[in-house]
Symmetry: C2
Subunit: 475 residues, 2 copies
């Protein structure tokens, strides 16, 4: 790396904001998709938008690739610098800049941790709805890049619904201040386009996010089943009847065992094949009415026990099990591959059956935790990455599960993004024309392809687009 | 126009699909923004995606501009062919292609009339939520182009939230089949980008739309006020208390008079300065609980009377007044300028005050009908376009109202789009860098600028972008 570039960057972010030696760069070699790694040439940690813009301008001048990184909790390799270059970490940009309780918005720096925002706004009776399992670590900027979901996104929608404005530093170092007013539209929805663009367009440095009033009453129910499919069918029926719980989460036997064996001890019954966690929010009357309507449906599909959290402590404990499930699986094997699979909600049971068969055939340990309400499964395969043969079977199973989703009219990702992990699969779902349209939009933001290269859009598609479509002008 | 092009188009759509003579082209000279007109050189009415693609390919070869048109009910001039060329009308593409009640989606051709979809899906207990005032005439394709709203979008969100997939014919005549799965994301949200792009990217020919279950109980309340500001304050308070009615609409005195003098006779009290129409949906218990919570708030701000629709007939009548308000204003003057203004919901009363003053200073007749819940005002100015001086004052008032919205932290449009009407105002709200980002995204879809030219993005911005930003590569 050009020493002039290194000196220039140090002048912008100060010595503490520049990680150049091997030991300090090493933690930035991957995100939570642990089987693909590359150590970045340099890590830069700016403090604000102004520093970000200066960094980006300098990198543009030196034609160096830039990969943005929040907390590195991503599951699709989005923050892994596979093609080298600089990692621009947002960990030092952790200020909540303003909270406007009247308009119910907050302006934050991109490095603010997800759950810190709800903690900061609680005194105004407000919270930030999207709640990924990693919410105590992941950053709001990373959530924007991946359009993250979470259990409560069943009712409230994923990150994109909660972003009102973005300050964006472009690949060239320009600063854009884009907003999307409350009533949604106003011409081109560049904010919506940016959310979920996985770092391919530029860096969002400041976010204006929407807050929701904390519901007066929250009821958490746990329905216990002797079969995973029965739990899936109950979810399909709850939705078919038009009920609107705020979350519908399923946890299977292997996960229950791991959670109960861990320090979490959520109190999930160990004789169950699956538990369904249902949460209902609203006024006292609304919650009572929804709960009354839910109970017979949950029982009709064979729930042999139905528990209600009696107080806030029990409620927190039931959720701790769900949110800590991925961590608890560390008891099963050293590595965990969390697959992100989506099908129409009516196909849940079919996908569970197929996933079980795929993993059994490949002699893999499968646990399931999932946002059943969204049709978003997380088959979790426990493995040991030092065992090359097992790793190959894990990756093969992941591909087979994705192909099954596509066959069932599903998609490649519910909330983890495409990143590196599913790059190849983009061509299974999209036509060359579709991918070419994506390439052209990408190139509108980053014509040199320096922003997070090697992610989301298969690169050879862009190259082929460029040569094959002369009438596409600049494409 | 090149006779070869005309012959080619006739061969694609048949003689009945081609309008070439003056009399038949005339109705296509504008949409509902009546003060700007231009007769298109030719009108083409394809029947399906295949014909659309062939038309677009031929137009690309002849380098002719193309303006898509639904029913021509748009209010920002989006379908007016200001720079000449061909109008591609979707009026003959009216088939509901498929309804999947289990997945709650419908696939339709772009020319299907908005309310026809809910009529077709009612037998499955489902409806399509976005409900513009023009819903009995406007097309779903037009709704996608403008990201249309409607009274019930307060709760359910504007068109973009209800679009799951789009078949798009590009400027070159390629066909893309893009989808956005239920759980929102999956990389670049090209569907979301297309919704609201006002015909600048290509033509959506087939739409996959989300349906919602018809709520078991709907309650409609009418609160009657002696001041418009009091009605606005009641709305702000309803939202502040976290209540979630499905619609919150305000109608002012002049509108009430026009409605009551018309055949609609909605039964609005003529001694009121404003009425607030509130609708609550859900189970019986939920509706009862919401209504109980609403009543004291509505009265606290001085509602001197509170009515409840006793039956479906009365409910329909209350809504008929709201939905027919624009038509009823034909009694006041020959022309109506429906302004689309957005401010944060807490600034409603301030905007109403400012709007009243702006129109009084310019001796203009102002009536107000608005989606109060969204902070989306529709100041309606009645005028006679033959009176050039009055027309000039109307346009000037529109500009002054928009500038006031911007000063209050609002936006240029809540649901009608930018089109021709607000092109100039884009530069009041956005920086040159912001507009340049929009230009680059536009050019990714339509490098020759042939799709609906002269709309949404000020053209000279694009030209300046092109010369000023060499490092933007293709920009």
């Amino acid at each position: 790396m050009d020493p002039k570039l290194i000196d220039g960057l140090r002048a912008i972010v100060g010595p503490a904001g520049l990680l150049a030696d091997d030991v300090r760069r090493k933690p930035y070699e991957s995100d939570a998709l642990a089987y693909l790694k590359r150590i970045p040439e340099l890590v830069v940690l700016p403090r604000d938008t102004r520093q970000c813009a200066a960094v980006m301008e300098l990198c543009a001048r030196h034609r160096v690739p830039v990969v943005a990184r929040g907390a590195g909790t991503g599951l699709s390799g989005g923050a892994t610098p596979v093609e080298g270059g600089i990692v621009l970490g947002l960990a030092r940009m952790r200020d909540v800049l303003a909270i406007d309780p009247e308009r119910r918005i907050a302006r934050v720096q991109a490095g603010v941790v997800n759950s810190d925002l709800s903690i900061a706004t609680a005194k105004h009776g407000l919270f930030y709805a999207p709640d990924p399992s990693s919410q105590k670590a992941c950053t709001l900027g990373g959530n924007v890049a991946e359009n993250s979901g979470g259990p409560h996104c069943f009712r409230h929608g994923s990150t994109t619904r909660h972003v009102e404005g973005l300050v964006i530093v472009t690949a060239r170092g320009d600063v854009l201040d884009l907003s999307r007013p409350r009533a949604d539209p106003l011409g081109l929805d560049l904010v919506g386009l940016f959310v979920g663009s996985e770092g391919l367009f530029g860096i969002a440095t400041e976010l204006t996010l929407r807050l929701l009033p904390i519901p007066p009453v929250t009821e958490t129910l746990l329905a216990i089943y002797t079969s995973l499919e029965a739990a899936c069918q109950a979810v399909t029926q709850v939705i078919a009847e038009g009920l609107e719980p705020s979350a519908l989460e399923i946890i299977d036997k292997l996960t229950i065992e791991a959670v109960e064996a861990s320090v979490l001890a959520a109190g999930y019954p160990q004789d169950a094949e699956a538990v369904l966690l249902v949460e209902v929010e609203g006024s006292e009357a609304e919650v009572a009415s929804q709960t009354r309507a839910l109970e017979p449906i949950l029982r009709a599909f064979g729930a042999f026990e139905l528990r209600r959290a009696r107080d806030e402590a029990e409620r927190a404990r039931l959720w701790a099990g769900r949110k800590g499930a991925f961590g608890a699986m560390g008891r099963i094997a050293p590595d965990l591959y969390v697959i992100d699979a989506v099908v129409p909600r009516t196909k849940l049971a079919a996908l569970v059956r197929a996933t079980t068969a795929i993993c059994r055939e490949r002699r893999l340990k499968l646990a399931n935790v999932f946002h059943a309400g969204d049709g978003n499964l997380h088959p979790n395969i426990s493995y040991d990455r030092r065992d090359q043969d097992e790793l190959a079977r894990v990756i093969d199973a992941g591909h087979a599960i994705l192909r099954t989703c596509i066959e069932h009219g599903g998609a490649l990702s519910g909330e983890h993004g495409i990143g590196l992990e599913k790059l190849e699969a983009m061509e299974w779902l999209f036509t060359q024309d579709d991918l070419a349209a994506m390439c052209r939009v990408k190139e509108a933001w980053d014509p040199e392809g320096r922003m997070n290269p090697g992610k989301l859009i298969p690169v050879h598609t862009c190259m082929e687009t460029r040569s094959a479509l002369p009438s596409g002008g600049r494409a």
